[in-house]
């Protein structure tokens, strides 16, 4: 709410400094509320009061005053000019701090990059291990299904050496074949054992399949997902010893043979 009327007669006295304390405080409190009309009037009153300076008789100060002032002013101007081109210490301090911060930041960034790189490598290794485990799990599941499914056909592979344990194959027409054996002697050197499918067709040549080596305990397990011949068209399975990587046709006599019933 504006209540300027009570202050209208105070503007000039306020500018003059003639108001008693209570009135002065009241007007200043009102001005503090942001009353633009009163503020404008007070400003004009200040100007009006400043005109009273003209009542003072004009008088020239001594030349000494101007001399003292100009001497001080010249000295301060020179000081200001000489301090201008120089770069303040605080700017140098700022630059140094910025430089140190940059070095620190760069080092931190490099450390973070290395850490990210190492983490990525660890993640890749774990993913690879996981993929391998999943593959092994899938193989184990498939082997288990083949070995336990009643539809699988058992094939006993007898060795030509009476001292060598036999092998057994389970062949599922849809899931593939699993070849197993225990205490199987390892082939000499880098040679491997190779599985062959002997077709029923007259004059049919042995069809090469996968190669394998028993592990250190002589255990042998081989999953053949997609045998190169159908169960119904296979007469027998045979295993020979071949050079590493296998052969397109047998180069030695069969060490194990088993007929497909």
């Amino acid at each position: 709410m504006k209540n300027c009327d009570q202050f209208r007669e105070m503007y000039e006295a306020y500018a003059l400094g003639a108001l008693d304390a209570a009135e002065r405080i009241a007007l200043e409190a009102h001005l503090a509320t942001g009353c633009k009309d009163c503020a404008k009037s007070v400003k004009e009153a200040h100007w009006l009061v400043s005109q009273l300076a003209n009542l003072a008789p004009g008088a020239a100060p001594s030349d000494l005053l101007k001399g003292r002032l100009m001497k001080t002013v010249h000295a301060e101007a020179q000081q200001a000019a000489s301090s201008k081109p120089g770069i303040p210490v605080w700017i140098w301090a700022g630059v140094a701090a910025l430089f140190l911060f940059s070095v620190f930041s760069a080092r931190k960034v490099e450390e973070l990059r290395n850490e990210i790189r190492a983490t990525n490598q660890r993640v890749a290794t774990i993913l690879k291990q996981r993929q391998q485990l999943e593959a092994q799990l899938e193989i184990a599941k498939r082997e288990a299904m083949i070995l336990t499914d009643p539809a699988s056909v058992s094939i006993a592979l007898a060795s030509s050496d009476p001292n060598t344990p036999p092998l057994e194959a389970k062949w599922h027409s849809a899931l593939g074949m699993v070849l197993t054996g225990q205490k199987i002697p390892a082939p000499s050197g880098n040679r491997v054992l190779q599985l062959w499918l002997i077709p029923k067709a007259p004059g049919g040549k042995p069809i090469p399949s996968l190669t394998l080596r028993p592990d250190a305990q002589g255990k042998l397990v081989l999953l053949v997902r997609d045998p190169p011949e159908l169960l119904a068209q296979t007469k027998a399975l045979a295993i020979t010893e071949e050079p590493e990587g296998g052969s397109p046709q047998p180069t030695t006599g069969p060490r194990w043979v088993g007929g497909v019933s």
Partner: protein, 195 residues
């Protein structure tokens, strides 16, 4: 007021004083010397009138002009003309000197911060040069009855309040208030009338 409107550029031009103050911000010694030459008589005359001692008046004048030199940025051109600002600054300094260590000293300090920045220039003032204005002010005050003139002078040159003036003149407080206000309003009308 209407004369100001007839000269539209006048209100927007930078006054010579304001231009010199701008140069002061760049520590331009020449600008300071020009401002001193333009206003030192008026400032010193005012200080001498208040302080009554040439030596003290020169000391305060030195303080005032050094404050101008060192703190020219305190003057805000958009809030009023330069000379009333400078005169207000000088008057406050002089009254402070007169009343050092008194209760009024604190009140003046408060005003010292505000006064120089709030002297708005009325439209009619823009058309009136300094000499003509000084003549009008002196003529108007001379035309007042002696007690009324004395009341205004006690307030302006000695910094007395209404109550103190009433006591000094042995007049009723209301009469003193009326004298001062009416005198200043007549001064305002007088300055307006010449435009």
């Amino acid at each position: 007021m209407f004369l100001a409107a007839l000269i539209p550029t006048a209100a927007h031009e930078v006054s010579p004083d304001a231009a010199l103050v701008h140069r002061l911000l760049q520590k331009d010694v020449s600008a300071f010397e020009q401002l001193y030459d333009r206003h030192s008589r008026l400032v010193y005359g005012l200080l001498l009138r208040i302080l009554q001692q040439a030596g003290t008046a020169e000391e305060v004048a030195q303080d005032v002009f050094l404050q101008l030199w060192r703190n020219a940025g305190q003057y805000d051109e958009s809030r009023g003309p330069f000379l009333p600002w400078l005169l207000t600054l000088a008057r406050n300094r002089a009254l402070d000197t007169l009343r050092l260590k008194s209760e009024r000293q604190r009140r003046r300090e408060d005003q010292t911060e505000e006064m120089p920045s709030v002297a708005a220039i009325p439209e009619f003032e823009k058309e009136l040069d300094q000499k003509s204005r000084a003549k009008r002010v002196r003529a108007l005050l001379a035309s007042l009855n002696p007690q009324q003139k004395k009341a205004i002078e006690l307030a302006y040159f000695e910094g007395l309040t209404h109550t103190e003036i009433a006591t000094a003149l042995k007049e009723p407080l209301g009469t003193v208030k009326s004298w001062i206000r009416n005198g200043l309003l007549r001064l305002k009308e007088e300055l307006q009338a010449v435009t």
